[in-house]
């Protein structure tokens, strides 16, 4: 199966004004294997999951998540952010096998 582990999307609403509390949504493609199951041939599937997520807005870390393999496959998260400056919003996802995946979006205000 051709799945691109680490392909990620970060979505913010259009038409942001300074001071808005916006919804941020992010999804990264990842199998999130628990390590508790076997493939159809009976071989154990090793644990492979995102366990650390860092969210920076400009030069501040505004959120940090600690996850287990209990998050669903292709883990999704939505939360709020006070858009008080024009800056890059960057997600860095790390998995338990030293995989590092990034995605960012620019927060810009409507004129």
């Amino acid at each position: 199966m051709s799945r691109e582990i680490g392909a990620a999307r970060v979505l913010v609403p259009a038409g942001i004004r300074r001071g808005d509390v916006i919804d941020v949504r992010a999804l990264v493609e990842h199998p999130m294997h628990t390590g508790l199951f076997r493939d159809p041939e009976g071989h154990p599937i090793a644990a492979h999951f995102i366990n650390d997520v860092s969210v920076t807005y400009g030069d501040h870390e505004v959120a940090h998540f600690v996850w287990t393999s209990g998050l669903s496959r292709d883990p999704f998260v939505e939360f709020s952010l006070r858009a008080d400056r024009e800056a890059e919003l960057r997600f860095i996802w790390k998995d338990n096998r030293d995989g590092v995946f990034q995605q960012s979006v620019d927060i810009r205000f409507v004129a």
């Binding site: 979505l11 609403p13 509390v21 919804d23 949504r25 999804l27 999130m32 628990t34 508790l36 199951f37 807005y57 501040h60 870390e61 505004v62 959120a63 940090h64 998540f65 600690v66 996850w67 287990t68 393999s69 209990g70 998050l71 669903s72 496959r73 883990p75 999704f76 998260v77 939505e78 939360f79 709020s80 952010l81 006070r82 008080d84």
Partner: protein, 156 residues
């Protein structure tokens, strides 16, 4: 994805919420009772929070009553506590009693978030209570729980 559905869900649950409001008001601030909490979960709570008391209130947890697919169970946690520099929600913890990893996720926030809210999707191995515990910058803990009935095992 689910921006609109979240709002409509909140709207739809408004009436039910009102009906519960009086009861919740009575419960507000009362220490959560742990008589019925399994020992393994109490151990996890002790590890996370020591002897600190978890009180009822200020946390809204939205989970389905029945999850047809335990591989993808939507979870939303929201708090009306302030998100200002002086006082804010420092972390939202999600625990599932009957999962292999009971402390499923921790979402750490800063005041720059503006509002204590998080929505995600989790796996559930079997029917279980789901717990949401909010930790404030001054160390206070607020929690709630809801039962989710799982009809298809989700840890595969």
């Amino acid at each position: 994805m689910s921006g609109f559905s979240r709002r409509s869900l909140l709207h739809a649950s408004g009436l039910a919420f009102l009906a519960l409001a009086a009861r919740r008001l009575a419960a507000l601030g009362r220490p959560l009772r742990f008589d019925g909490v399994p020992w393994k979960v109490q151990q996890v709570l002790k590890q996370l929070f020591g002897e600190r008391e978890i009180r009822e209130g200020h946390v809204q947890l939205d989970v389905p009553t029945v999850a047809a697919d335990g591989r993808v169970v939507p979870v939303m946690v929201e708090s009306d506590l302030p998100m200002s520099g002086a006082s804010f929600v420092r972390a939202v913890h999600v625990l599932v009693d009957n999962n292999p990893d009971i402390h499923l996720a921790e979402f750490r926030f800063t005041p720059e978030i503006g509002q204590a809210f998080v929505s995600t999707r989790i796996k559930m191995r079997m029917t279980s209570p789901v717990r949401a515990i909010v930790e404030t910058s001054d160390g206070a803990l607020w929690g709630t729980a809801a039962d989710v009935r799982v009809t298809v095992n989700g840890c595969g």
